[in-house]
């Protein structure tokens, strides 16, 4: 790997690059799924290649190839330089980057069990057992299970002398029961929707989820939803369980704080942000109890946004995003940091694969725990809806107006969780929503959720992000618009 990357850097410099970096990535993945007692998909893949980023006369170029011969690398580096020269034809100012010292290091996330050394037979046996438990429940029309594992072995080398080797192991799994009856399709997922829970961890994560033990409950809830009352429409207190709150953080905090988006670089596709630069240090983003960090360090937890160094060679950091309700920080890289007066990048450049350009991405964007126990929170709530597990999500292209629906709701009356509600939804404006937060549960209820499928960029890149959250309460929230018949 080192020879390949070094050849790339040397060639780029010889051809006129003032700065160059290269990422050699060897990515292995395994996917398994079942549906209604049968194996659905079963596949493994490996992908090895190099991406070379160069700065020539103040303009960027990037080229990637899977031809890792010396001549293949040289041609790719030459291509990156040629592209950078073309970028100079439509340049308004030279790119400048804040300094970063050279780092020579190795990093690997800790894990107990290598999922690629666990037999396919035993992984399938676990999924089929969970599938069987769900299929057993009368009224379930589709039982589905899945596992996904990725091992990313990557070497970063740059012209300033950094040589950083990292190995990241990711694991994830989930189950879902779907029930069709009358004119309704209802479903319940565990431990989260859209693929379950994913972390920077080994197979021990899958074992800790107890998919089989939760399968019957999930299936019974999917069927029971058909007979549940419709969640009401109006304005109400809501309590979000932690996985739904994780997605709320992702959409209404994580994306708007991306500095490339703020500066207009994503205007054509992912959109821009309401968090214009004048709001830094001034905007009351949330209530006093709202504290959000962007933390890529291992001590934050095994999130999908955890790493040793970002894909620009900057060490993992923790940035205060919202402190006691005040907006205090963006996600930045070496190029955008000066726009907010930073002397160093926040270390959030990440790439999906060797053939994609790194860009500013969420790391672990987490709501720090509060003080409430979950039981006390329910007991303290007179009239509310507890919403669990995301079903749909949508937010405008500046991250102001959002609407979410969840798979299931529970009525809270007089401090008690009472009947099940179907089709719950809520909507609002980002800052109004976070300012309405009046209770957050404690560390013992806090989970670092993984979102494995965050899309951004052109060409589109899919990235895993982490979101720590514990259940929280929000007052005076508009509910029910998604299913309104009016």
């Amino acid at each position: 790997m080192l020879d390949v990357a070094t050849t790339a850097i040397e060639t780029a410099k010889l051809r006129g690059a003032s700065y160059a970096d290269a990422r050699v990535m060897d990515i292995r993945s395994r996917e398994l799924s079942t549906k209604n007692g049968q194996v659905g998909s079963l596949s493994e893949s490996e992908s090895l290649g190099i991406g070379i980023r160069v700065l020539v006369r103040g303009a960027w170029g990037f080229a990637a190839t899977d031809r890792l011969t010396r001549e293949g690398i040289q041609a790719c580096a030459a291509e990156a330089v040629a592209i950078a020269k073309a970028s100079g034809l439509a340049k308004r100012a030279d790119v400048e980057m804040v300094p970063e010292p050279a780092h020579v290091d190795t990093w690997q996330n800790p894990f107990v069990k290598d999922p690629f050394r666990i037999s396919i037979e035993s992984q399938l046996a676990l999924l089929l057992a969970a599938d069987r438990e769900m299929s057993r429940v009368k009224g379930v029309t589709i039982a589905e299970t899945s596992m996904l594992f990725r091992r990313i072995d990557q070497l970063f080398v740059s012209s300033i002398g950094s040589v950083i080797h990292q190995v990241k192991m990711q694991s994830g799994a989930g189950i879902v029961a779907t029930s069709f009856a009358g004119t309704e399709i209802q479903k319940r997922s565990y431990p989260n929707s859209f693929g379950g829970q994913h972390q920077l961890a080994g197979y021990e994560l899958v074992e800790s989820l107890d998919l089989v033990g939760n399968a019957q409950r999930v299936a019974e809830e999917a069927v029971a939803l058909h007979k549940a009352a419709q969640s009401p429409e109006g304005t109400k207190t809501i309590i979000l369980e932690s996985s739904q709150l994780g997605l709320q953080i992702h959409e209404s905090v994580g994306h708007p704080i991306e500095l490339d988006r703020v500066l207009g670089m994503e205007a054509n596709f992912a959109g821009m942000s309401f968090l214009t630069l004048d709001k830094l240090g001034k905007l009351r983003y949330g209530s006093d109890i709202v504290n959000v960090v962007a933390d890529a360090r291992l001590e934050h937890g095994p999130g999908l946004g955890t790493f040793g160094y970002d894909d620009e060679g900057v060490p993992a950091q923790c940035t205060d995003v919202i402190k006691a309700g005040l907006f205090t920080g963006y996600l930045s890289n070496r190029e955008t940091a000066p726009a907010i007066g930073l002397k160093r990048s926040g270390g959030t450049m990440r790439t999906e694969s060797w053939n994609r350009l790194p860009m500013i991405r969420m790391t672990n964007i987490s709501l720090l725990p509060g003080t409430w126990t979950f039981d006390d929170l329910i007991a303290d709530t007179d009239d509310a809806i507890l919403m669990e597990t995301n079903r749909s999500w949508s937010i405008d292209d500046r991250r102001y107006q959002f609407q979410f629906s969840t798979e299931i709701g529970w009525e809270i009356k007089g401090g008690k969780k009472t009947r099940m509600l179907k089709n719950p939804s809520y909507s609002g404006i980002t800052t109004e929503f976070w300012n309405s937060c009046d209770a957050i549960c404690s560390r013992e209820h806090w989970t670092l959720w993984g979102t494995p499928n965050c899309g951004k960029g052109q060409p589109m890149q899919t990235m895993g992000t982490g979101h720590g959250a514990s259940p929280a309460r929000f007052r005076n929230i508009k509910i029910g618009a998604a299913f309104s018949k009016a």
Binding site: A82, K91, N268, F269, L357
Partner: protein, 468 residues
């Protein structure tokens, strides 16, 4: 001895024409040689190899300047083996002998690690395919400088008008070959050009996008003019009340909504009871003016004339005058549902079955201008954003308008409008279509490209308004 000579020639060619897709694409004969090596290395009962090569370049601009400019070349060799009624897939991007041997072995290990699949069919043999021509040499030969010059013209247009341009200009080429041990061989190559532009002002924006297999059909300057004019027209947007509105949806907005129906036409989706057509085939669900085909051979469509197993794609009438008539089927689903395969299956193994990806709507005769002219009060929508499914059976979708939302009064555009959130059943929408334009090839961001008309729709449900 042939391989080293070819590499040297290829490298030299790249030196002469750097960063051009055409310089990277292997010949069909080269792909055949890889496929033959894989088939020879396999001792499975049956073997399938799917080779795919992509050479893409994308120039990205914002704030009237190029800020990202990339090119990538990737090749994948995906192998499916069958051992005793069990099948699995392994994929690599390396083509040396050892890597090919390993990917074949890996596929076999996966296949043998699972229970027997009672529904697995033998691989299909040799097939006949209708010809499609979607490779354009000029597009494959586009250079970074070609894209940069076009972007600079667009940036200048925006700057002269005091506006800011952001977007992409991409060109590329792909080649693929699918072969199996039963004698099936299918090969395809195509080029792709796409330009998308957003023009921004302080309180407004406009957007336009086009793609085609041929670069000559994509006109960045015309698209930029259109987006720029929309930004000017939507200045000082008014906040209007949500509720049911008459809307005129431009083709990109129609595409992004109706694209959410595509999987509902899968035989597997109906069999699994997760389609909105479950129990509704043959029933009147949409208006008389809605007729929909899946047609990979339509001159404005693109994509392979065969499916993931190599079965020839059929032209399928999905909806006739508002009545869903037919579904699409892979071989396995067709057998299960006592139907004929239509050539829409995904690569095996998978749990999703099949889907139509070449949707073509029958169009009407009204232009967008005529639809505006006939509207007393309504909203003209350029583009939609972040669409998600709220109710899968009634097919209620939520999402936002974006980059060019206008108030129409008395038959004219009178102002820009703040962007709306909608919660709208697509089935209900297709019952309420008052007028259609001729169908055009359109492209959006939420769904794949298709051939769709603009539509004038009554009673479209806007539920909330955002702040811009």
């Amino acid at each position: 001895m042939k391989t080293p000579r070819r590499k040297v020639r290829s490298s030299a060619r790249r030196e002469e024409i750097p960063a051009v897709a055409a310089a990277h694409l292997p010949t069909e004969a080269e792909l055949h040689r890889i496929a033959e090596r894989v088939l020879k290395l396999s001792d499975a009962d049956e073997t399938e190899v799917d080779i795919s090569v992509n050479a893409d370049a994308l120039t990205r601009f914002a704030n009237n300047a190029i800020h990202q400019n990339v090119a990538d070349l990737s090749l994948t060799v995906s192998v499916r083996t069958v051992f005793g009624g069990r099948t699995a897939r392994a994929t690599t991007n390396k083509t040396d002998e050892e890597s090919l041997r390993r990917v074949v072995a890996s596929s076999g290990t996966l296949a043998r690690s699972q229970p027997k699949d009672p529904n697995l069919l033998p691989m299909p043999g040799r097939q006949k395919y209708a010809k499609v021509a979607r490779f354009d040499a000029a597009t494959a030969g586009a250079t970074p400088a070609d894209r940069a010059r076009a972007v600079e013209h667009v940036a200048k247009l925006a700057a002269i008008r005091g506006q800011t341009a952001a977007g992409i200009f991409t060109t590329g080429a792909s080649a693929s070959l699918l072969a199996n041990s039963s004698g099936l061989v299918a090969a395809y190559r195509q080029t792709r050009a796409e330009f998308s532009v957003t023009i921004l002002e302080d309180d407004s924006s406009g957007w336009a996008k086009s793609n085609s297999p041929a670069l000559a059909n994509v006109d960045p300057q015309e698209l930029a003019e259109r987006a720029s004019n929309k930004a000017i027209l939507s200045r000082r947007p008014r906040e209007l009340e949500p509720g049911p509105w008459t809307v005129i949806l431009e083709p990109a907005a129609v595409l992004d909504l109706v694209g959410f129906l595509f999987y509902d036409f899968a035989g597997t989706a109906v069999h699994d009871k997760r389609s909105c057509f479950t129990g509704r085939l043959g029933k009147k669900l949409m208006g008389d003016n809605i007729t929909l085909w899946d047609d990979a051979f339509h001159p404005l469509q693109h994509g392979t004339p065969y499916d993931g197993e190599g079965m020839p794609r059929q032209r399928v009438l999905l909806v006739e005058r508002g009545v869903p008539q037919n579904l699409v089927y892979s071989r396995a689903t067709a057998k299960k549902m006592k139907a004929k395969p239509t050539g829409h299956g995904f690569s095996l193994p998978n749990e999703w079955g099949e889907a139509p990806f070449n949707l073509v709507f029958d169009g009407g005769s009204d232009s967008v201008e005529e639809m505006v002219g006939s509207t007393e009060r309504g909203i003209l929508v350029t583009r939609l954003w972040y669409i998600r499914e709220v109710d899968p059976y009634e097919k209620v979708l939520t999402g936002m308008t974006r980059d060019g939302t206008f108030l129409v009064e008395g038959g004219s555009i009178v102002a820009g409008a703040r962007n709306f959130r909608f919660n709208q059943s697509v089935l209900e929408m297709l019952r309420n279509v008052a007028a259609l334009s001729p169908s055009v090839r359109s492209t959006g961001e939420e769904s794949f490209e298709m051939v769709v008309p603009a539509m004038k729709v009554h009673g479209f449900r806007f539920s909330e308004v955002t702040k811009f």
